[in-house]
Symmetry: none
Amino acid sequence: MNKAETKFSVNIESPIAVFVQIENQVQFAIASGKYKPGDTLPSVREMSEMLKVNPNTVTKAYRDLEVMKLVHTRRGVGVTVSEKAPKLCQEAMRQMVVEHLRDAVAECVATGLSGAEIRKLVSETIDTGYQPYQV
Amino acid sequence: MNKAETKFSVNIESPIAVFVQIENQVQFAIASGKYKPGDTLPSVREMSEMLKVNPNTVTKAYRDLEVMKLVHTRRGVGVTVSEKAPKLCQEAMRQMVVEHLRDAVAECVATGLSGAEIRKLVSETIDTGYQPYQV
Amino acid sequence: MNKAETKFSVNIESPIAVFVQIENQVQFAIASGKYKPGDTLPSVREMSEMLKVNPNTVTKAYRDLEVMKLVHTRRGVGVTVSEKAPKLCQEAMRQMVVEHLRDAVAECVATGLSGAEIRKLVSETIDTGYQPYQV
Amino acid sequence: MNKAETKFSVNIESPIAVFVQIENQVQFAIASGKYKPGDTLPSVREMSEMLKVNPNTVTKAYRDLEVMKLVHTRRGVGVTVSEKAPKLCQEAMRQMVVEHLRDAVAECVATGLSGAEIRKLVSETIDTGYQPYQV
DNA sequence: GTGGTCTAGACCACC
DNA sequence: GTGGTCTAGACCACG
């Protein structure tokens, strides 16, 4: 029932739409347990100030999350995390991430990289904590 | 100097723009040696019919490829693969593919998958020849 | 002059505003005779605790009911049912209910259900005492 | 594959949000067969002019319909009805309409109307083609 | 031409 | 205070 303190940020230079970045970050925060069922997300106004974006952009992201059954929004109250959100987010994140990995490996294979080369790249990335510009 | 016979296809449901899919496929075909310097790409009309796509879309893809110095377009002749295209494509493909792999692994790490899990998924994918819907 | 014991409940998931649900339930309770002229409604505090709702919400509902001349609120006494409330409520309920029925039937017709199908559904519902989530 | 000619209209006085009215009308048009899979909906601009509303409002409705898998939207192409849209719409309409009917009948019963009275009202409405202000 | 995104700002309903 | 809706208008990406 807390009001969690999590930092959000968006990259307006990114080709990924801002509202999608917000959705992803919230999903990630839920999946990782930073937000639990019943917690209240930052209000539309707070979030829009934190991210320096228009409130409508935040509203759009929150609306999508509601359609995905991850949050409940109630006028005059705020946006709260749903009971089943953690399960849904964890599943979705894992599924997405595994699919991306498989696609990437398949691309490497198709491009002619050997299994050894691929494994070397993977190990390097795991060990060095490589961080892409946007999760 | 041949007119190579390679199948191209696009997925109009994909979030990736059609013209980008075309560019990628051509680059991939060049990188893998299906098209060699001097070979002629399918005409805009042929390609647009093959892919059931607006000719303008093919034109845009071909124009981009020309900007990248991968092809030459000459009136009355068609679009031909440049001398340095194979080298450029191989480098570009490798670079792209490696970046995708690193991003994907980083995502997995961020989502909490262990190094062992990731390596297992990678090995499975290498061994089973998993094929995503779009290179 | 009694303090009637009637259960109230609201569905915060409902698209119908909470204060409207309260108003409807009170009107229904009056129309059905559970509350008679002179009876005292649950205090704002009692009601808000019973419904697990913000007291302001109950206050707003009670204020609306006063505007409708269904109740009187007097400091130190509470909210009491007015003399003419039963008559007004019965009329209002009947009117509302008939309108809803007409709208629903019209929708069915517009969607292509036959008169026979509609009559069958109606009879089934009358006979089985079907209870929707919110009057 | 036609561009169907269907009239749409909204009531900006209605308590129902304009974008919801648009969604409902499109769903109804699909359910009734006025739009078939592959047909193109009026463009955002056309629709916004026809309804005298802001294009963003139409965009919002179309976006929702896409989330519901009723249409595909593609930049530069337009918004087309999906293969499974008719089935989904018919089911949804029927389900909604039956639920409304049951709720309405249950309300009537709860308010004390007799089965005979309810059946009389239903028959009258079926016979007279009563039309509410908004389907 | 198509739709997608974002901003700025207004007004409303609800708690 | 909260979110919901709508408008007006801009810029971009795609075909």
